[in-house]
Symmetry: C2
């Protein structure tokens, strides 16, 4: 295995771009080499196989979509009420739309997981860890609502991000006067999270 | 264009199977011919191109996932309260899990729509029609909650079905004593839909 860490990182990010642009089935070493602008055969020196590449992409996607520590720190100074939950959800949506390729990559990985049980296990672990972290954070911060609230909020945001990234016009104007996605996020939080 | 309607239907359903199994990028006329067990070249006599095939698959997916009129009629005899909303959501999940290929096909189409603007327009129309129909139905039946409730419920169920079909173990045991997906559906409805 080749060990240049910058090149490995560039190849993994090229893999994310290929995944978003071509779909999981388009993710070949050759396509990754081309997207990274490196000689054919390079990717095969960095990954033991396609599953290895997919697992490294998975880890990278969670990194790229993680909250910015400074934004988080700023938000954490605010009162621990429902409007703070709304602010966190706005930040989640902002991260997904800002790094659209990464979020589309996550969705492609989900569909690829239905076809590859080995991938499903490791991918389940990373998505589950994100969900549990969210629940723990909500609890530790003393935000309104219990684990059930967080689980339902998680599902509604998953649906909203999926819809907004793939078919943005479906939700446009569906609730008069409610902007997409901002106003809809507020509606989601107000509906699901208790006031205090 | 060839006009044998049974053969056309068989080719479209073969396309759904290819989409679920291979992903959007695997959907070629050759793969459809193979999945349908017909001679190479058959699909090209039935569809003007890949976009035409995708549009016919889209229409077929909505047909395959539509509620059973008898089940619907049975449910509509019940009191118009929140527990009826739960029953409708159980039925929605049952349809998605029973015809898993069709629902995975919808997800593949969403991702394909991010790459093909022509497809996005027609696909947006069919998904939007489903959502508006759901809102109208909820209103006409006098079920509890307004359009905002239905929109948030729609998003949470979209997230739940996506999670359950692609990474079912993520939600397993996340809320102690809440079965997946049944108990979680109940939790979603109780959280989002007002009691009356």
């Amino acid at each position: 295995m080749a060990r240049n860490p910058e090149r490995r990182a560039a190849l993994v990010d090229a893999g994310v771009a290929v995944l978003a642009r071509e779909g999981a089935r388009g993710l070949t070493f050759r396509a990754v080499d081309a997207a990274a602008g490196v000689p054919v055969g390079t990717a095969s020196n960095y990954f033991t196989g396609r599953d290895d590449l997919l697992r490294q992409i998975d880890a990278r996607l969670h990194e790229r979509l993680a909250p910015d520590p400074e934004v988080l720190a700023g938000l954490m100074r605010r009162p621990k009420d429902r409007s703070l939950v709304t602010a966190f959800m706005h930040d989640l949506m902002a991260r997904a739309t800002r790094d659209r390729d990464a979020y589309l990559g996550l969705l492609e990985m989900r569909l690829e997981a239905t076809r590859r049980p080995e991938l499903r296990a490791s991918y389940t672990k990373s998505v589950r860890a994100d969900l549990e972290e969210g629940m723990e954070f909500h609890r530790d911060m003393g935000l309104p609502g219990g684990d059930g609230t967080v689980a339902v909020l998680y599902l509604a945001m998953l649906g909203l991000i999926l819809e907004h990234l793939t078919l943005p016009d479906v939700l446009e104007g569906v609730l008069p006067g409610v902007a997409v996605p901002g106003g809809l996020i507020e509606r989601v939080v107000e509906t699901i999270v208790p006031e205090a």
